[in-house]
Amino acid sequence: MTTGQAITPVTAEAVTAEAVSEALTAFLAERIKTEVAPDQDLFASGLASSMFAMQLVVHLEETYDIAIIGPELKLDNFRTVQAMTALVLRLRDG
């Protein structure tokens, strides 16, 4: 449990599906010390718990300047790198 590095919100042009997906894979590799595939179910594979999902919520909100509220706050949105990427793109568009 280290003190988190300062998070630099990313600029608009950097937010493409590939960039988000790559950054998330790197974040996960740092946090859970595992290279995950974009469609790998983090909860089913035991790599993540709902406590960790809450950490993902905080990370995504801070990094991409989005608010994950209301029905978006469901585990399915955090199940895979793909799902989280789609969530980020959807909320940044919205």
Binding site: G4, A53, M54, V57, G70, K74
Partner: protein, 378 residues
């Protein structure tokens, strides 16, 4: 008492003084009577002191996590019943701020910073540590929702105007904000709790409580574990700082007594076995303060680590508070062995801190899970 702690942030010094002034020497009598003066709670509420982190834009003091924590510790050093009310009000406000829509935030946070009181209801007869077994449910009914269920041990419910209730909602879950005066809400006070006796714990029955759909925070339908983790993360940091307050009160009482009380021809502080108790109390105070400061820093930085840092702070501080209270009673011996004494109260209050907001065992399971997921394969 907290004013003497070196390095204390100057922020909220006026609020700490207000708490001292209003509590005075009454914490013991309130504990024995099992009741806090409602007027005092409303006054502190109207000053924003019960949920100091509510942003100024919503009528709050806009305090950062650390000074808010020191304010919580100060209240905890004087009266854990009052401190529990702060934890509940703060948790309610945070939940509304985090999950409510703009209109709900505006409305409810204005209420909570102007003297109205709130309690948060998770636990049920069949769902204590395991909140996934929750059965309270909302059912849609046109522009309304109907709430049915039973909640246990809700801190502050006796004084509350609003109950923030966790329930199943469709396939997911939701927090609903329920006026305590709504038809179908029935409170039953918990008789003679072991500690935090004046905190107004009540069981709450919700029988066909009909509310406007706008009472459901953010429209509902969120993941149940994400909802309670959100609310509990605030609650855990708050309880952790409250435990720091308990430890500070125990340290102060033990040091005062050990200096003055003489046995075998000298102050008992000069007996090494008693001195060791003092060393342990000081260690507990320092370690707990540091782990709380770390959690508050993570919270303030919106670091993803804040979730586990809150669990760690709560677990470490609650354990130290329970052991410190026991140690302080040992040092005071017969002088602290009577209800009404600060260490006797701490002894009863601190034990409950090992049960609430994630018991010792649940915190250990979460910390173990964290160790397992962050260790990597192999």
């Amino acid at each position: 008492m907290a004013e003497q702690v070196a390095g204390l942030a100057p922020e909220l010094a006026g609020e700490r003084a207000l708490v001292s002034e209003l509590v005075g020497d009454q914490a013991g009598p309130w504990d024995l009577a099992g009741e806090l003066p409602a007027g005092l709670l409303r006054k502190l509420g109207a000053h924003g002191v019960l949920c100091a982190e509510v942003p100024a834009a919503y009528g709050g003091l806009g305090a950062a996590s650390r000074p808010s924590g020191e304010l919580t510790a100060h209240a905890g050093s004087l009266c854990s019943s009052l401190r529990s009310i702060m934890t509940s009000q703060g948790m309610a406000a945070w939940t509304i701020q985090r999950l409510g829509d703009r209109e709900q935030r505006r409305r409810y946070l204005a209420d909570l910073t102007s003297g109205q009181l709130a309690a948060v209801a998770f636990s049920e007869p069949g769902a204590g540590s395991d909140l996934s077994a929750l059965q309270t449910r909302t059912s849609p009914a046109g522009d309304s929702v109907v709430l049915d269920g039973e909640k246990m041990w809700v801190t502050g419910a006796r004084y509350a105007d609003l109950l923030v209730v966790l329930a199943r909602h469709g396939d997911g879950a939701a927090f609903a904000v329920v006026p305590a005066s709504a038809p179908g809400v029935r409170l039953e006070p918990v008789a003679d709790p072991v500690g935090c006796r004046a905190a107004g714990h009540s069981h709450v029955r919700l029988d066909q409580v009909t509310l406007p759909a706008s009472s459901v925070l953010g429209g509902g339908g969120q993941s149940l574990p994400l909802l309670f983790t959100t609310a509990l993360s605030y609650g855990r940091i708050s309880v952790a700082w409250g435990c720091v307050g308990i430890i500070r009160a125990c340290l102060a009482a033990a040091v005062r007594h050990a200096r003055r009380r003489e046995q075998s021809g000298r102050p008992i502080a000069q007996h090494q076995l008693v001195a060791r108790h003092l060393a342990e109390l000081l260690t507990a105070e320092q370690v707990s303060t540091r782990v709380c400061e770390h959690a508050s820093r993570c919270w303030q930085d919106t670091s993803p680590d804040m979730v586990m840092a809150a669990v760690l702070a709560k677990h470490v501080s609650a354990g130290h508070a329970a052991r410190s209270a026991s140690t302080a009673v040992q040092v005071l011996a017969s002088a602290g062995a009577q209800d009404g004494h600060v260490v006797a109260r701490a002894y009863r209050d601190a034990k409950l801190m090992e049960i609430i907001e994630g018991s010792n065992e649940i915190c250990q399971l979460l910390l173990a899970q964290h160790a397992l997921t962050t260790a990597g394969p192999g």
